[in-house]
Every structure is written in C-alpha cells, then in structure tokens.
C-alpha cells in the first residue's frame, strides 16, 4: 500500500492544484479577480440567503380559481352560442366542475350538441373531439359539458409558466438585483431575491393578479333589484371603488380584456389628476371601437381584479385603440397600475405559502459566526491530533485536513452549490469526522506495531485493514446525506450537499494524501520504530 504508484502522485498533485485554483477566488478581493484572465476560475462560494441576507417567497398558483374562471366563461359562451342560433334552453348552470343545461325543444338537442362541439372551448390536439371541451348528451334533453382532464392539467401547468414570465417582467422593472424565480412542484413558484430585506414591495408588485376587463354596465337593473339580490343571468354585481356608487351590476361577458393591451403608462386626465393611459393591439382596438360605437350613451365599467375602478359613460366611439382610465388614483398608485397592466395579468391568483427574510446585516453576522466556529473547530482538531499522534503523524493528518477543507470549498465553488448556515455546521462536522479515518488508520497501525510487526508492515496494514471500516462508515453518512437532500428543503439541502461533498473529499484526502505523505517519510527516514 505504501508504494508510491505514479497515478496516486498524479491524482493527488492534480487535486491539490484543482483545490488551490478553485478556492482562490474566495480569498481574493473582487478587483484582483476581475483583472485575472477569463480562463482562470472566478466563481466564488454561492452563499445562501441566510448568509447573504435576502427574501424568499413561495407562491402557490390558485389553479382552482383558474378552473372556476374557465367554467364561468364556458357558461357564458354556451349562452351566447345558443342564443345566436335561437335555440331555447334552460337550467344552464355550473355543477361540480361541469356545465349542464336543458334544451327546450327535443328535436334540437342533436343540433345544439354538434353546434357546441364545434364552437365552444379551444382546439386541443390530445382529445378525440379535437377540442378541450367534451359535450355529452344526457337523458331528458340535457347536455353536459366538461373539460378534457389532460387539457385542464395542461392549462394549469401553462398558467404556472405564464405566471413566472409575468412575475419576471414585473420584478425586472423594480430593479431588484438578480432575482431567482423558479418553479417548484406542480403549482408553486419560488422567488429568491438576494439583498432584498423588505419583501413587502416585492409582494405588492408580484401578488396582484392585475386582470383588467372592460364590461358593460347592466342598466336594466335598479338599485332595489341589487338590494334584493335579483340579478339577471349573464350579469353580476361587483364592488366599486368610485365615489358615486358602492357597487354596479355589469354584464359578465367582457368587451375587451387586458390581454389585448400593448402599452400602459401613468398620465394625467384633463383636470390634472393622475390617471392611467392605455393602448390596445389591433384586435383589441377593433373590439373596443365596435363596442363603444354600438353603446353610445351607455356606461361601461373598468374592472380590475373583480373591483370596478370607474364606470364612465360612452360619449362616442373610441377608435384608435387608446384610452385613459380615471379614478381615485394617486401618482404612485397610477404608476403601479400602469406597471401591472404593462406586464400583463397573472392567469390565476397567487397566494403566499411561505415567506422568509434575513437582513443583510444578520447574514454578515452569520458568516462571521460561521467563520469563527470553523476556525475554532479546526484549531481544536489540530491541537488534538498532534497531542494524540505526535507532530509527524498528527501533522500529516492536519495537512490532509487542510487539503480536505480546500477541496470542499473548491468543489462547492465549482458546482455553485449553495452554502447555508447549517451547511457550515455540515462542514465542521465533516472536518471532525474526516479525522476519524486517520484515527482508524493510526489506531490500526498502533495495534499492528504492538503485535510485533515491522514499522513498514504495520503502516501498510494500518491502511489496508482500516479501509473497509472507513468505506462502511462513510457510506452510511452518504445515505443519511442522500435522504436529507431528497426530502429536505432549503437550508437542509445545503447541509446535505456540503456533507456529501465532504464524505468524498475526506475519504480521498485522509486515505490517499496521508498515505502518500507517510510513504515519502518512510523512504526518507527508514524508521526502525513507528513514532505513534
């Protein structure tokens, strides 16, 4: 075992060089680093939010609300389509995730079904009908419409992707430095913003659905009807923020929606009050122009996230696709609304499921505490090992330990794995357990020497016989770390990752590096006795 095979020397030399190269960026100031040629490694340890300070927000996309919204639209589509063909129907309602209705004329059931099959829902390649809505005939002239399950799942998934895009656009305009926005699981979005120690501003911008619609006010309903809850099908009562009326009844079907906006800015109305101006795309302009031309003298409502901002009267056709939203705005709220409209609506509401914040100052404190504890642990181990095994053998295990620490830092910088506060604990534990391999080897050597073996034989046996134990012991640690990585969240994962890297580097260094050093010493000193 103590023969210095060439590949061992090469491997150890190579890894030491690798260790120095990839650890170095962490020790040098950024300025020196910038002046280095680009082929040199420049990546530093990636500190977790608990060490750097920052905000962590986990949102859940409310896919149930999305489904409800789609069902609501489906009901309105059915109503419009059947009325257009003058097919009379009744009992149109949403029941348990399906839309049901009854066709009045028995002879027209088939016609209605095929009409609906052709015209409601959207094209969907994965279904038999080619659309994402199934229309089924039930007895007693009833029809039942439901979404194809795969289409619903795809919708939800797309909603999450689209939300991520929208959030990214919104956060970019805030100027937060390098926010990390990731999808987690089926319906969750995680936002990590380093250095952002006040998540309130982030939440205010990210969390708003910002769904804008223009809907006609239903003037056929009197205030008494509203009070009595008599609202005709196809209309709904919405709360209002304007100063004239607390609620309006509006047609459920939107004239135009915010999806068709191309731009929106903060501006002022003709009396100098803050307002939001907007501009539609081509299709939106046409729809808005047509609708306003047909409804001169009537009122329409500007609805944001289920609340009416204002309900102006249409004085004439609004052509050209641009307009202005007035309401009780301040300059700030107008500019926020403009930003939200510009970045587009979230397809479904978001709910904060988890929020963590660490102040930058506290992060710096944690780094300091971590560094001090690591240093204390290191010194303790050094003193202890030298006292236990002498300057030579103790010293060799200390050198192995230093290389080990360097390799861990290098590996973590290279893989850009996140170092967390518990990760530092993992590092310290790794250092402590790394000496275990040396202890096992040295204790074996002592045993063998005591049993009367020659120094070289004892040293050799020390390495070879301790090996199985070392492997067994480290595999168990690796199993524990693997489980932590699979089931842990956030800081626990960082801990597990540090621990796993540590297992590999510590076996490597405590076995190979110390073997090499002891081998060299044997060649140079040719000892008669083991000084251990």
């Amino acid at each position: 075992m103590l023969t210095l095979s060439r590949w061992k020397i090469v491997l150890v030399t190579f890894s030491v060089i690798f260790g120095i190269l990839f650890t170095l960026p962490n020790l040098l100031p950024q300025k020196t680093l910038d002046s280095f040629p680009s082929w040199l490694p420049q990546q530093k340890l990636n500190l977790g939010l608990d060490l750097q300070g920052g905000s962590y927000l986990m949102y859940e996309v409310d896919t149930d609300a999305l489904r409800k919204e789609r069902l609501k639209n489906l009901v309105e589509d059915v109503r419009t389509v059947l009325r257009g063909e003058q097919i009379t129907f009744g009992e149109l309602a949403e029941v348990n995730g399906t839309v049901r209705l009854r066709i009045a004329d028995a002879a027209k059931v088939d016609e209605a079904a095929s009409l609906l099959r052709r015209s409601v829902g959207s094209p969907f390649a994965g279904s038999v009908s080619g659309r994402d809505v199934n229309v089924n005939k039930r007895d007693d002239q009833r029809l039942e419409l439901s979404f194809v399950p795969e289409a619903a799942a795809q919708d939800a998934s797309m909603a999450v992707d689209q939300s991520i895009e929208t959030i990214r656009r919104r956060i970019d305009t805030l100027g937060t430095k390098e926010p990390n926005i990731t999808r987690q699981g089926a319906d969750r979005i995680v936002i990590q913003a380093a250095g952002e120690s006040d998540p309130e501003r982030l939440k205010a911008v990210v969390g708003k659905t910002a769904k804008l619609t223009f809907q006609m006010v239903d003037d056929s309903v009197t205030p008494e009807d509203i009070a009595a809850g008599r609202i005709p099908p196809g209309s709904e009562a919405l709360p209002s923020d304007d100063r004239f009326q607390a609620a309006y009844v509006v047609r459920k079907r939107a004239l135009v929606s915010g999806d068709e906006l191309v731009d929106s800015r903060q501006s002022f109305d003709d009396r100098g009050a803050p307002a939001v101006s907007f501009k539609f795309n081509g299709a939106g302009s046409r729809k808005f122009g047509d609708a306003t031309a047909r409804n001169v003298g009537k009122r329409f409502a500007i609805v944001l996230d289920g609340r009416i901002i204002s309900a102006p009267t249409i004085n004439g056709a609004i052509l050209g696709g641009s307009g202005i939203i007035t309401g009780s705005f301040t300059a700030e709220s107008a500019s926020d609304l403009a930003l939200l409209l510009r970045s587009g609506a979230l397809p479904a509401p978001l709910k904060v499921e988890q929020q963590n914040t660490v102040g930058a100052e506290l992060g710096a404190d944690a780094v300091r505490a971590g560094a001090i504890s690591t240093l204390v642990a290191f010194i303790t181990i050094v003193v202890f090992m030298i006292l236990s095994y002498g300057l030579l053998f103790g010293g060799i295990s200390v050198i192995a330990l230093i290389i080990n620490g360097m390799l861990i830092v290098a590996a973590m910088s290279l893989t850009q794995a996140t170092l967390t506060l518990p990760g530092i604990a993992g590092l310290i534990l790794t250092l402590a357990v790394a000496v275990d391999a040396n202890v096992l080897i040295y204790e074996r050597m002592r045993d063998e020497a005591r049993a009367g073996k020659s120094p070289i034989m004892a040293a050799d046996a020390g390495f070879s016989r301790a090996m199985t134990t070392i492997i067994d012991a480290n595999v168990t640690t690796l199993v524990a770390a693997g489980i932590m990585f699979a089931f842990g969240a956030g800081p626990v994962r960082g801990f597990a990752w540090t621990l796993s890297i540590g297992v590999f580097t510590s076996v490597f260094t405590s076995v190979l590096v110390s073997q090499l050093l002891i081998g060299w010493w044997f060649r140079a000193a040719r000892p008669k006795k083991l000084p251990i």
Binding site: A377, M385, Y389, P422, D447, R450, G452, G488
Partner: protein, 321 residues
C-alpha cells in the same frame, strides 16, 4: 513493544484496556430502557416545541430601538387582528420583542403578515423595524412535517438494510436498536430543553443517525473480525475484547467531533445553538449506544460463529490472549 516515544504523546487510555463492558450491560440496558420510555412519554406530553416550519404561522422580531418595546401594546394590536395563538415575548434587549402568531384558517400567510406589520406600524409609531419576518402556510408546513418524519424513517430503514447486507441480520437488529435508542433519546433531549423542532433540527437528527451508524459500524467491524479470529472464545469475551480494542478510537473521534461542534454552539449565534447542541448530545449518546446497546443485543440474540470464511489471521507474537 515498549518503545521510548520520540514525541510527548498523550495517551488517552492505557495501550491495553481490559474494561469489562458486558458485565454492566444489564444495568446499562435498564438505564437506557428507562430513558427511552421517559423520552417517548415526553414526545407525547408535553410534546415537541414545533417551529413555524412545521406548525405554520408567522414569526418576526419587532424592534423599536432606541425606545423600549411596549409589549402590552404589541399584544393588544395583534389580538385586535383576530389571529389565532398570539405569542409576544421580550427578546434579548428591551427594545426588541419576538412575535409569533397563527394565520387564520384559509387566510393567505403573506397577506396576514403584511396586515400585521401595517397595524403594528400604526400602533407603535416611528421608529419601528421588523426583523426577519417569516411566514409558512398550513399546507407547506404540513408537507414539511411529513417529509421530515419520512426522512427520519427512511434513514433508519436504509441503515438497517445496509447493515443487514454488509453484516448479518443480528448485527442489523443491534444497529437499528442502537439507532432508535439514539434517536429517541435525542428527541427526549429536545423536549426536555424545549429546543425548537424545525427543519434544522431534522437535519441535526439525520446527522446524529449518520454518526451513530458510523460509530456502530466501526465497533461491529472489529467484532466481526474478532469473531473470525478467536473462534473458541466465549461471545461475551469477544465483545469485550473488540470494544476494548476500539475504545480509544471511539473516544478520540467522539471528543473531536464534540469539541468542534462546541465551537459552533458557542460562536454560531442563536440560529445554530439549538442545532449544534442537539448534535453534541446525539454524538455523545451515539458513542455510548454503540458500546452498550448494539453489542449486548448481539449477545442476547447470539451469532453464528463462522465455519465460513475461516481464514485465521497470523499476527505474529500476539499481544492478547
């Protein structure tokens, strides 16, 4: 071999220890069993002090430095918000308070936190600061708790399988008994000292499992080797011999790990104190259990003494009987 030492080495233990561990096994088993039962009772009553990771809700520090925090006002403001289970306590200096509360059922934890902050800002006046506000929804906390428990169960299960394959079933059983012993006692420790049970604590427990296993494996490894070497020796004596042979290593490694973690406990700040203390305790218990729980169980169960793989190892002039 009585070599004069070239360096002033400290020998922790005499080179040759002849401690009779097995003799005390019965007594130790009794003590261990009592502690295990006490810990198990403790876990159910008074129970674990769950952190917001697992319980859900919000926690933050409120600071009105340089003024002292008006705790009564903070409490009344929070109670006016209609939250469940509000806790307000002084934290460190008089200008700081630690605030915890549950999000009302069905509420958005983020929105609740924002509302509470706004309300506190109004009632406490300037300057008021909110330090490290965190919120976890009930859904996420439930998932985190389940996955935490699952991780612990899986860790124990996988360790058992590993030992089973590497050694023999008896060893696997002994190892798992030792593992459960350590795990349960550590839970008892967490309950006794009211250490917050959070994600970090689970990581500490998994580390304890890893360490305890590591230690047991080293003892078992030596035991297996000696079982092959001294085929005629009574099992009791082989166990004693093996533990004696390994005891200085066990103590050196255990003490090193504990010393290193003590540094972390002292200098790591509040965030890591509970975490490091749990690991220190677990390592101490893990070291104890590999001697007094794992090995005696093998004694109890008996072990096949190998006709198989009978390769006597010549050790020259043996220093042991």
């Amino acid at each position: 071999m009585s070599a004069p030492m070239a360096w002033p080495l400290i020998k922790l233990l005499p080179q040759k220890t002849n401690l009779t561990f097995v003799k005390f096994a019965r007594l130790m088993a009794l003590i261990s069993a009592t502690l295990v039962v006490a810990s198990l009772i403790g876990v159910f009553k008074p129970g674990l002090n769950l952190g917001i990771d697992f319980k859900g809700g919000s926690v933050m520090e409120v600071s009105t430095a340089p003024r002292a925090v008006d705790l009564t006002k903070v409490r009344s403001t929070l109670e006016a918000q209609g939250l469940g289970d509000v806790q307000v306590q002084a934290f460190g200096s008089p200008d700081r308070a630690l605030v915890r509360f549950q999000t009302p059922a069905g509420g958005d934890p983020g929105v609740t936190l924002t509302n509470v902050k706004t309300a506190l800002k109004q009632s406490l006046g300037d300057p008021v600061q909110f330090i490290n506000p965190s919120a976890v929804g009930p859904k996420v906390s439930g998932e985190l708790f389940r996955s935490g428990v699952l991780a612990l169960v899986l860790a124990v299960g996988l360790m058992f399988l590993y030992i089973w394959f590497r050694f023999e079933p008896q060893f696997g059983l002994g190892a798992v008994a030792g593992l459960l012993h350590d795990l349960i006692l550590t839970f008892g420790f967490i309950v006794l000292f009211k250490i917050e049970f959070s994600l970090n604590t689970v990581a500490a427990l998994l580390t304890v499992i890893g360490y305890s296993m590591n230690d047991t494996v080293v003892v078992f490894d030596r035991l297996r080797e000696n079982l092959r070497k001294y085929k005629k020796m009574p099992l009791k004596d082989v166990i004693d011999l093996s533990i004696n042979e390994i005891v200085s290593r066990t103590i050196i490694t255990g003490v090193t790990a504990i010393m290193a973690l003590t540094g972390l406990a002292i200098f790591g700040g509040d965030a890591l104190f509970g975490f490091s203390v749990v690991m220190i305790f677990g390592i101490a218990v893990g070291t104890y259990s590999s001697i007094y729980v794992g090995a005696p169980i093998i004694l109890l169960w008996g072990v096949k003494r190998g006709e198989e793989e009978a390769t006597p190892i010549k050790l020259g002039e043996a220093s042991r009987p």
